[in-house]
Amino acid sequence: MGRMDQNNSANFILRISNLSKSFGGVKAVVGVGFNLREGELLGIIGPNGSGKTTLVNLITGFLKPDSGKIEYKGQDITGLAPYRIARLGIARTFQMIRPFAELPSFKNLIIPLYSPRVKGLSGGKYGDLDSVAKDYLEEVGFERESSVTYKQAGSLPHGYLKRLELAKCLALRADLIILDELFSGLSIAELASIVPIIEKLVSEGKTVIMIEHRLRELFRIADRVVVLNYGSVIADGIPSEVMEKNEVRKAYLGSE
């Protein structure tokens, strides 16, 4: 695993070492460590309750780790407040999607566009945020002047909500994007339209982490997969190799 190339550390956008977190007596994440190259698409998989979402919450600052270290672009971000981490360029989606329900879809993107990060990147002035917001919605497949763009976000169908979440990450112009079960509940047709958006992100040099249960779709696009079970990494490698491992099969299928 990536330990030998220490001198190549400049390429790592994210370095996680020995990360642990427990809730009361439950050890949710135990000594997790891995590095992530810039431009890589990493899948994180594992059975329910294996600590995937806890790991995301630790990286994005929503939880503080009991021990361990997280470095982003060479900077120690362990235990920083979520908004500080987001300003450095880490965007995430949530497993439970709750849009800003009362606002129209495109107004949902005003929130990330209002972020100090975006203001900083665009030199303070962004002009008409509404039209920029619609640009981002178009990028994820909303038609510009259609009713879905103006509809209250709370009444959007599931597929559009997922795209809206993705658009929020785009609008933040993040370098590392963490997608927590983005594919869940999407139809094959919806997936076919959302996968190219992710592929485009990676081709633009963004780094992506995807937590997924839909392995078939994930393995088609992931460069690398980390498998978690009971909070520990049990495998880390390219998708086809990882699934050959006995531990992984056991974790997913149960021991026979």
Binding site: T60, F62, A81, P82, Y83, R84, A86, R87, A91, R92, F94, R98, P99, F100, A101, E102, L103, K107, N108, I110, I111, P112, L113, Y114, S115, P116, R117, L129, Y150, K168, A171, L172
Partner: protein, 335 residues
């Protein structure tokens, strides 16, 4: 062949969003312009025609309308305050101290009390910004009661006696117009503020604070700013009333200033500010008019409060607004 059918008036006028209109006739312009202009005209005329007792009622109506709007604004950000009396009391004491003990003139001490009072309230509530829902409400309920007891126990600022002999406004008409203009200003400013990008971010915090944090916005700083804005409005009310009464004391922290604005906003309709305005203009004069019947006043008042809330849970303003938008007229069409 000609036929008559009904048509919604707002149909040709509204172009997609709420704030873009296409107006083709004077009548259509009136349809859009009357709702915002009517309350302005009403409030400008009222001080001239009301007898002096009802002028005082108008003042306290405006005060409760302002407190209700300030409450409504905090609700927009997801903070349900049960302690508007905190804002009112702090503003009242700051104005009283500045006027009586420091000797500042009225036109200086009220603006200072407004801003300083807002800042003091925001600072007092900063430690509990992380609390959500009912936990935040509990703290806001307790704070004014606590300050009241601190004043009593320590004997600060006149203790239980309060500070009296505070200079009044030069004349009643000035007094009325100051409060009328500030109320109208606050009404339109608040309505405008929540539709700006800044206002959208505040509303988003209520919907989903974690999502707002995850895009790099410090929600505690935003909430502190919202508290400051709401606090300024509340502190202005306190400062103003101090000069109306010529006195400031422990009653400034009374529960009335917390509960009445809340019921005005709920009865009027939350989230629009106009609702708070309408609510206060119904409840406060109503409560005054009931004074004649003596002891049963509170019973009757409470009865009507319950009636409003049960019959019109959306609030009076939302109801009127909906009906207004559904106005129809007869038009002739070719068949």
């Amino acid at each position: 062949m000609k036929q008559r059918r009904k048509e919604r008036i707002d149909r040709g006028i509204k172009a997609r969003s709420d704030d873009v209109f296409s107006l083709n006739s004077f009548r259509e312009m009136l349809y859009v312009a009357v709702p915002p202009i009517a309350p302005v005209l009403l409030l400008i005329i009222l001080p001239l025609v009301l007898p002096s007792y009802w002028q005082k009622v108008l003042i306290s109506t405006c005060i409760f309308a302002l407190l209700a709007m300030s409450w409504d604004f905090l609700v927009c950000v997801g903070m349900v305050s049960l302690g508007q009396a905190l804002f009112f009391g702090v503003g009242a004491y700051v104005a009283g101290i500045l006027n009586k003990l420091v000797g500042l003139p009225i036109w200086v001490d009220i603006p200072i009390a407004t801003v300083l009072g807002g800042a003091i309230c925001a600072v007092l509530l900063t430690p509990v910004l992380r609390l959500r829902g009912v936990y935040f409400s509990m703290v806001t309920l307790v704070l004014p009661l606590m300050l009241e007891r601190i004043v009593e126990a320590s004997g600060m600022f006149g203790g239980t006696e309060g500070i009296s002999g505070i200079k009044p406004f030069p004349n009643p008409l000035v007094e009325s117009y100051v409060i009328v203009f500030i109320t109208l200003f606050a009404l339109f400013a608040f309505r405008r503020l929540v539709t700006t990008d800044y206002g959208l971010v505040l509303k988003a915090i209520k919907d989903n604070d974690r999502a707002v944090m995850s895009v790099g916005i410090n929600i505690y700083w935003m909430k502190a700013q919202a508290l400051f804005i709401a606090g300024c409005v509340g502190a202005f009310c306190g400062a103003f009333m101090t000069h109306v009464y010529g006195f400031v004391g422990m009653p400034s922290f009374a529960l009335d200033f917390s509960i009445l604005p809340l019921s005005a906003a709920v009865v009027g309709g939350m989230g629009t500010f106009a609702g708070s305005f309408v609510g206060a203009f119904i409840l406060v004069p109503f409560s005054e008019a009931l004074r004649g019947i003596g002891g049963l006043r509170i019973v009757l008042y409470s009865f009507f409060l319950v009636l409003f809330i049960v019959a019109l849970p959306e609030g009076i303003f939302h109801y009127i607004q909906r009906k207004y938008q559904q106005f129809e007229r007869w038009v002739e069409v070719d068949k």
